[in-house]
Amino acid sequence: MKKSTVLLIFIILVYTFLIGPFLIIFLASFGSQELMTFPPKGFSLKWFHKVFTVIMFRDAFWSSLKIALGSTFSALILGTPVAYALVRFKFPGQNLIEVIFSSPAIIPGLVIGFAMLRFFVLLSNFPVLIGLYIGHTAILLPYTVRVISSSLRNFDVSIEEAAVSLGASRLRSFFIVILPSIKTGIVASFILAFITSFNNVPVSLFLTGPGVGTLPIQMLVYMEYYFDPTIAALSSILIVFTVLIVQGAERVIGISRYV
């Protein structure tokens, strides 16, 4: 066989498995039957309509949004000084701190979720929403620290020193000189962290509780009882939503440089 033929076969295989599943979900969400089938029979938009009428989805969406926004902001506010310290200074225990801050990205999510659950149970009656918010902040920190570190490493230290020598305090020069220069890195880590939180299952699985569920968890719950194309329709919406955000970010700041 010719080299190009082999290559072509590989490309087709890779794309089939990468995009195929999404395509099936996407097409199935337009079916008119009560059970999800592929290929879909008939054409209907009623499942899309139903997504917006199911109360548990609507509540879960708002919870997910609140948690994702809150934990992303917190991870940015906590992660930026950490990244700054790791990049700009040399101090004892630096490697350890670096490892600790990247550990949530390495340790399996289920383990983190379980550990956090045990921890919050000890603090009896800890509010579920706050628990989720803290848990998500912890798993987002590695992303913000890493992405902001990498843009700080590309920032010429002399620029900060120039500002300081001209009379700006370190804190002031951070806000007027460094921050504008690393803003693309911050936007990139915001988007990355937001999507990570919004889509998270393993940690949320343990930390959700009575009355509070995130969207992915409620989707799991829904699927245990129903097998209509509503989930497919919701999935399609989420896929389109994510693709639009990432595409927009790529156009504006070239997010792929940071991921």
Partner: protein
């Protein structure tokens, strides 16, 4: 008392490995001092210590009679110019230059006047609304210079400011910098590894090696009378050989040169039978096809035509040397020649080279 005094400074990044040890430096008001040395000699550390970005482990920094040793860098009123220009990329030329004045809460009208005055002085008229990304390297360095000067600093520190520019621009900027420094009478410390830059700019030069001052003096002194083999090499005495002193007269010293002898100027502290190292510059010796006085025989191994000059590699009993002759076209090919040492072209230092 001098305007700036560094007294017995010790500085290190890693404990036990001092970059500067018992380092002292003095600068008069309005003086331009160059610190010259190879990378890793401690010249940038010296600047960072004066600017306050590095706290010395010992010693003190005095400016105009006041102790600055523990002062934070933003309270020192010292202008800095970096090799990378370090302009604020999101600020226009005007705002870059105005930055220091804004930090000092100078009234807007005064800022405008001072900034435009400097923009004109450094030749950037009409570019005030540009961003650094829209400027050439030379223009960026002018902005950096103006930004540091506009705050009327106690002291201006420049860290290899011209090394990112191309050769011709570098020479123009050198002259301009010197003119500007004279005009405003600012005290300046200029760090460089380029001897030509240090020689052409400075009132005084310090040659630094491994955190110690190897030699200090005016450009002329250092150029003609390097105090050590290291400085000699740095000042363009690229050729060297080990030898011994045959005899010492009142005006001359006679050195053994392979199977023959060469004569050179008297130098204090050199005695008969001393083991010495001899140095000479490629362009201070000549070549001749016939045997002449004060010459050693050799063979031209390679010829490189360089335009206004030609470089020859000559192999002799003493080693292989580089010789540069200013001529329109090469006058020797690979052939036997005599390497001739005119009066005073060889300098002699005690001790042998490795």
């Amino acid at each position: 008392m001098s305007y700036l005094e560094l007294r017995n400074i010790e500085a290190w990044y890693q404990k036990g490995k001092p970059v500067l040890k018992d380092f002292s430096l003095f600068l008069e008001k309005g003086e331009l001092l160059s610190i010259l040395g190879p990378s890793g000699c401690g010249k940038t550390t010296t600047l960072r210590t004066i600017a306050g970005f590095m706290a010395p482990a010992a010693g003190s920094i005095i400016i105009n009679g006041k102790d600055y040793t523990g002062k934070p860098p933003n309270k020192r009123n010292i202008g800095l110019v970096f090799q990378s220009y370090a302009l604020f990329p999101h600020f226009t030329v005007f705002n870059n230059i105005a930055f220091g004045l804004r930090m000092r809460k100078t009234p807007g009208e005064v800022i405008k006047k001072k900034v435009y005055n400097l923009i004109e002085m450094v030749g950037l008229s009409g570019l005030d609304a540009r961003l650094p990304g829209q400027l050439s390297g030379g223009q960026r360095q002018r902005v950096a210079l103006a930004r540091a000067i506009v705050i009327e600093p106690n002291l201006l520190l420049l860290d290899e400011p011209l090394s990112n520019l191309d050769a011709r621009l570098r020479i123009n900027m050198r002259t301009e910098l010197r003119r500007l420094q004279k005009k405003i009478g600012i005290s300046m410390i200029y760090v460089t590894h380029d001897q030509a830059e240090a020689l052409s700019l400075s009132d005084r030069i310090i040659v630094l090696r491994n955190g110690r001052i190897e030699q200090e003096g005016t450009p002329e002194e250092i150029y003609s009378h390097p105090a050590s083999p290291f400085v000699a090499n740095f000042m363009g005495f690229e050729n060297s050989f080990n030898t011994e002193v045959i005899s010492v007269g009142t005006k001359n010293i006679v050195l053994k040169a392979g199977s023959g002898l060469v004569k050179t100027e008297y130098s204090a502290g050199i005695a008969r039978a001393d083991k010495v190292s001899a140095f000479f510059r490629p362009d201070e010796v000549t070549l001749s096809a016939k045997k002449t006085d004060n010459a050693v025989p050799g063979i031209v191994k390679a010829v490189t035509f360089q335009g206004s000059s030609t470089q020859y590699f000559v192999e002799t009993e003493l080693g292989e040397f580089s010789v540069i002759i200013y001529e329109k076209r090469p006058s020797f090919s690979t052939q036997p020649v005599y390497l001739e040492f005119p009066e005073g072209s060889i300098i002699v230092k005690k001790g042998r080279l490795e």
